[in-house]
């Protein structure tokens, strides 16, 4: 990461007695970060190396890396894998699909409503933003009702056209598609608004010159729109991927990981790592094993994000 020293705002290095000055400014934030992130993080890493569970609530002790081995081993009696590999696979698939769908949908709509000739574009913008503006808890529960097999609105419409009643949230594959689709409904307005503001920062002269030179609309999109939006978009992609990778509240609220799988891990078919971890912490007693899984998730997300940042050039401190 290249951190170049800025020139125009002249930042100073306090000297002498005032050396501690900058730290004083940061102390309140650092205290909250310690309470909210650092201590829980360190504590999680610590218990991931113990046998802390329901049977050892007070007398737990250090057991080394056993909990991490468990994640990749299989059950000694049945020989089935613990299902963590499936969890990892679906988590990746979910995060990647959501990132692509959300950004493409938001970007396409931003391009469309950015057209000054589009009649009623300000009305469209105001209406399309609603999924972002509404409280998440409310709308996700509403979606549960809409996709309900027996009395949901989607099936009411489909069956009135004689198209049957698909079991949206109880079929493993359909439920996965629903998750990605509904996630798109929730997330596209955010990207539409952001990309719209990025698009409006592109100087119009660039397009004028290109058009005079005879560049087609597609060529202008590829050679002007994409390169001009990329620097602002790249960090959003990285953060969005990490966010969806951990979007356990969404999964928990929409499908609760259901339908169940036959794996010994007790995962649901639509569970991602985070939602599995949450329901395990609530319902079972393997705190240490779940802490180990949590650490694994964090390591994976850090590695992926470092790779992403390299690749996209996001988060460089530039002027």
């Amino acid at each position: 990461m290249a951190l170049t020293t800025a020139v125009s705002p002249r930042p100073s290095s306090p000297s002498g007695k005032r050396k501690l000055f900058p730290y004083a400014w940061m102390t309140p934030a650092l205290l909250f970060m310690a309470v909210g992130i650092l201590v829980p993080l360190i504590y999680t890493v610590y218990i991931s190396g113990t046998n802390y569970d329901q049977a050892h609530l007070y007398n737990y002790h250090w057991v080394g890396l056993r909990n991490y081995g468990y994640a990749f081993s299989s059950d000694p009696y049945t020989g089935y894998a613990h299902g963590y590999l499936w969890l990892f696979a679906w988590t990746f698939a979910f995060a990647i699909s959501c990132t692509i769908v959300n950004i493409c949908a938001g970007g396409a709509l931003a391009l469309l409503v950015n057209n000054p000739r589009l009649p009623g574009r300000f009305l469209f913008r105001a209406l399309l933003i609603l999924p972002w503006a509404l409280p998440f808890t409310i709308t996700v529960v509403a979606w549960r009702g809409i996709l309900n097999t027996d009395f949901g609105a989607v099936n009411a419409i489909l069956s009135s056209f004689g198209l049957g009643r698909p079991d949206w949230l109880n079929d493993p594959n359909l439920a996965k598609l629903c998750l990605i689709g509904v996630n798109g409904w929730f997330s596209f307005p955010y990207f539409m608004v952001l990309i719209l503001s990025i698009l409006q920062a592109i100087p119009g002269d660039l397009y004028e010159v290109a058009e005079i030179d005879g560049a087609s609309a597609w060529a202008r999109f590829i050679h002007i729109t994409i390169p001009s939006t990329w620097p602002a978009l790249a960090p959003l992609i990285v953060v969005q991927f990490a966010f969806q990778f951990n979007n356990a509240p969404f999964i928990y609220a929409l499908t609760n990981g259901q339908p169940p799988s036959l794996d010994i891990s007790g995962r649901g078919e639509t569970d991602i790592l985070g939602s599995y971890l949450f329901s395990q912490v609530r319902n079972s007693e393997n705190f240490a094993q779940m802490a180990a899984l949590g650490v694994l998730i964090f390591v994976v997300i850090i590695i992926l994000s470092l790779f992403n940042m390299r690749f996209t050039g996001a988060f460089k401190e530039t002027k």
Binding site: P9, I37, A153, V239
Partner: protein
């Protein structure tokens, strides 16, 4: 507004140098196709919202058989107001959300200023840490949060089942992303303004207070509203840390209500949803301007 209008006219003249009335046929086709596409997407997007409103007006406790209510009634609204803890959830959310939002604005602004305007040992590492911790999955530390809060209550000060632990964790979790964003914003403010304050004899803090802070108002509004809304939306952490029914926040109350022990009373839920959403949407629409400039400002210039 003026800037947008100018940009629009610039774009209009770019697409059609002869003026607006003479569209080429292919340009007309593009407009028609994109208008129909946007209209369809908008209808699809609005459908769930329309459906919640209609359900809230339906007599009985389940969905209408068709798209419109079988019999219209407003009784569910009265029901929710009188027979559930709706008003308690709203009040709790207002308290927790406001405290969280204000704390976030204050601590994040101070940290962002330090990162932007000072050069000190550990600065690079601090910035890298902010980026890394943005990716920290809140869910991962859920059990640790729970045990730490209980441990602190048992051995130190009682913070379990009240909002202190909850607020502290909310504020802590929001810092990495927002401090990075805010720092990017302060980076864009010219140093000259502060400099002239120094010449007038102001110290660091006075210059910050009188010069920088007023310029940061859009960003402060963004952080506050985002923090407030995040509080009202969050339900995993709150459902782990809070068990007392009188301390539930809006989303937790509503979620428990909808996922109740018995079958869901969908019409009451829908009425609560509509009532809960209205102020929310109004705040959001008013704040949208800051939202966009906050996010885009940090993203574009960060």
């Amino acid at each position: 507004m003026a800037r947008e209008a100018r940009a629009a006219s610039r774009r209009a003249s770019r697409m059609n140098p002869r003026g607006d009335r003479h569209l080429r046929p292919d340009q007309k086709r593009v407009i028609v196709v994109s208008w129909v596409t946007v209209l369809l997407v908008t209808l699809l997007t609005l459908f769930p919202i329309f459906w919640i409103v209609m359900t809230s007006l339906n007599l009985g406790d389940s969905f209408a058989t068709g798209l419109l209510p079988d019999h219209y009634t407003l009784s569910h609204y009265v029901d929710v107001w009188q027979h559930t803890d709706f008003t308690i959830w709203v009040r709790n959310t207002l308290v927790v959300g406001t405290i969280t939002g204000v704390l976030e604005v204050v601590v994040i602004m101070l940290m962002a200023y330090a990162f932007s305007r000072f050069r000190f040992a550990g600065r690079r590492w601090g910035l890298a840490l902010l980026v890394a911790l943005q990716l920290f999955p809140a869910i991962m530390a859920l059990s640790a949060d729970y045990y730490l809060v209980n441990w602190i209550s048992a051995n130190w000060v009682p913070i379990s089942d009240n909002w202190i632990g909850l607020i502290a964790i909310y504020v802590g979790m929001s810092i990495p992303f927002n401090a990075w964003l805010f720092k990017g914003y302060i980076d864009t403010l010219p140093y000259d303004l502060e400099e002239s304050a120094y010449i007038d004899g102001a110290g660091r803090f006075v210059a910050f207070w009188k010069v920088i802070m007023p310029l940061c108002r859009p960003m402060m509004a963004f952080i506050f509203i985002q923090g407030f809304l995040a509080c009202a939306n969050e339900f995993l952490l709150v459902s782990v840390l809070i068990t007392d029914a009188s301390r539930k926040t809006f989303s937790m109350g509503l979620f428990d209500f909808a996922m109740g022990n018995f079958t869901t009373n969908w019409t009451d839920f829908a009425a609560a949803a509509v009532m809960g959403s209205l102020p929310w949407v109004i705040i959001f629409m008013i704040a949208q301007k800051w939202f966009v400039s906050g996010l885009a400002g940090g993203a574009v210039k960060g």
